[in-house]
């Protein structure tokens, strides 16, 4: 696999405040890479530098082999290969879904079929609706349609599922996984840890402009090595035990109860637990 995005010691200051303080990361072609972090951690600044929207104060950046901060006349050819889904927008309110998607298809040299993209994001029923009449979640799906219409090699998604109901979120995840199956590299920032867990091959946790850790969702923060919590009901109240050997402990419990253990559960820390521990450890 080759590298789609390479970032080395990226830095960006706003006045005295160092929003990005030396971030390095490398994103492989075809992977889904999630960037997690609290508000103000530097996620959006980092991603907007990768997208070519912001200049940087230091470090090197390569996206599809080009420096997004020095595109010059090659900007158009480079942008033809990427797709961007920004945070909430409210533009083009008077146009219909179909008009907008068809129009944006003109910008790219290898556009997908606009009607099948509308279908893919589940807006076929709304194709002739004015954009201002769409719900928040429908608008977001239109944003995604405009992000993928050009068959991008890299798709940037900035908090794509904000305002989605659970069903729409699941449908969106399917869509993202189908794009990955086509070979699209996906860079995702999100607040939803379950989303990162369901989609991402790797996650980077950013806080205060620095990377805390880069790992797979399953191994982040030593999650796979963490103790499991066993809980059950005994002596009229619920009991908890942290365990390195949960299987052995459950067998012993079963022997003690001669069979079924009341209200037995074995849980490992969720990605959210691990994430919150990491962020709090920082603060």
């Amino acid at each position: 696999m080759s590298t789609a995005i390479e970032v080395l010691d990226l830095r960006k200051k706003y006045g005295e405040h160092e929003a990005v303080a030396g971030i390095s990361l490398s994103i492989e072609q075809g992977e889904i890479y999630a960037i997690l972090g609290p508000n103000g951690a530097g996620k959006t600044t980092t991603v907007e530098i990768l997208e070519g929207y912001r200049d940087r104060d230091g470090g090197t950046v390569s996206v599809l082999g080009s420096d997004p901060g020095a595109l010059g006349v090659h900007g158009s050819a480079w942008r033809n290969r990427i797709g961007i889904v920004l945070q909430s927008t409210s533009d083009a309110a008077e146009l219909t879904v179909a008009e907008t998607v068809h129009h944006f298809a003109h910008y790219y040299t290898k556009p997908k079929d606009p009607d099948s993209v509308i279908d893919l994001v589940g807006l076929t029923d709304k194709r002739d609706a004015k954009i201002r009449t769409l719900s928040g979640g429908q608008r977001r799906r239109l944003d995604v349609a405009l992000g993928i219409i050009g068959s991008p090699e890299i798709l940037f998604l900035d908090e794509p599922t904000t305002g989605f109901d659970p069903e729409a979120r699941r449908a969106f995840w399917e869509l993202i996984l189908s794009l990955k199956a086509e070979g699209t590299t996906i860079v995702l920032t999100t607040h939803y840890l379950d989303e990162a867990e369901a989609l991402a091959d790797r996650v980077a946790v950013i806080n205060a402009g620095k990377i805390l850790e880069i790992a797979t969702p399953a191994t982040l923060g030593g999650r796979h090595l963490a103790k499991a919590t066993i809980s059950w009901h005994e002596d009229g109240k619920s009991q908890n035990k942290l365990s390195d050997n949960p299987t052995q402990d459950v067998i012993e419990l079963a022997q003690r109860f001669h069979g079924e253990v009341p209200e037995l559960s074995v849980t490992r820390p969720s990605l959210e637990d691990i994430y919150l521990t990491m962020i709090e450890g920082q603060a």
Partner: protein
Amino acid sequence: MNTLRLGFQRGKIEIKQFLRQRESVIFTLFFPVMLLFIFGSVFKDTIAPGVTFSQYFVAGMIASGLVNSGFQQLAINIPMERDNGALKRLRGTPMSPIAFFIGKAILVFLSMIAQVFMLLLFGTLFFHLHLPHSSALWLRFTWLVLLGSACSTVLGIALAGIIKSGRGAPAVVSPFVIILQFISGVFFVFSNLPSWMQHFAAIFPLKWLTQGMRSVFLPDSYSYKEVTHHWEVGRTAVVLVAWLIAGTILASRSFKWSRQ
């Protein structure tokens, strides 16, 4: 798709959006006609032999139409499109910025044609506006309209780059345009204004556009009532070209695709 064809596609989209916003259609197209009826009906005095104030006013309103459709429309709309994320989204696509500006120019040009046509129509029907009687005057009218629109367009884009927020844009732009109209010989006869005001107004293009339009629509004999007793057509062209160049430079420096 090449830049020119994409520019026409942008123009199509711009016009669709314009026509579907009732306020913008009314503000741009009908407001000048309403003003024409109010002022034209109230001030019917003869200001010179064979010239009524309403004729004088129609000429000024046609010049103002070029300012409305270009300068005012763009200086208000572009900051709004910057605020709602439209410009940022476009910047993230391979679309050439030139195609974007071609689209804006098409919108300005067509709304300007519609506005000038309505003013000419109602002016001749109700306010004794005389259409130019020679091809030389039509030619002058044409270059005044083209040069005036171009000037108005680039200055609108330049001001849009300086204005911080879309919500505040109308509050900055509209008073600016109205004051210009007062001091440039639209609502008042220019030669009756205090001379310091005349000198101040002469810095800006609208004064020259109104004077140019008077040279097209008023009898040639009226020129002696102008401040210099001449139409100063050559000087008008020089001032407009100078503003066009300055505006183009300003616009290319000030234009921003997003708020930061």
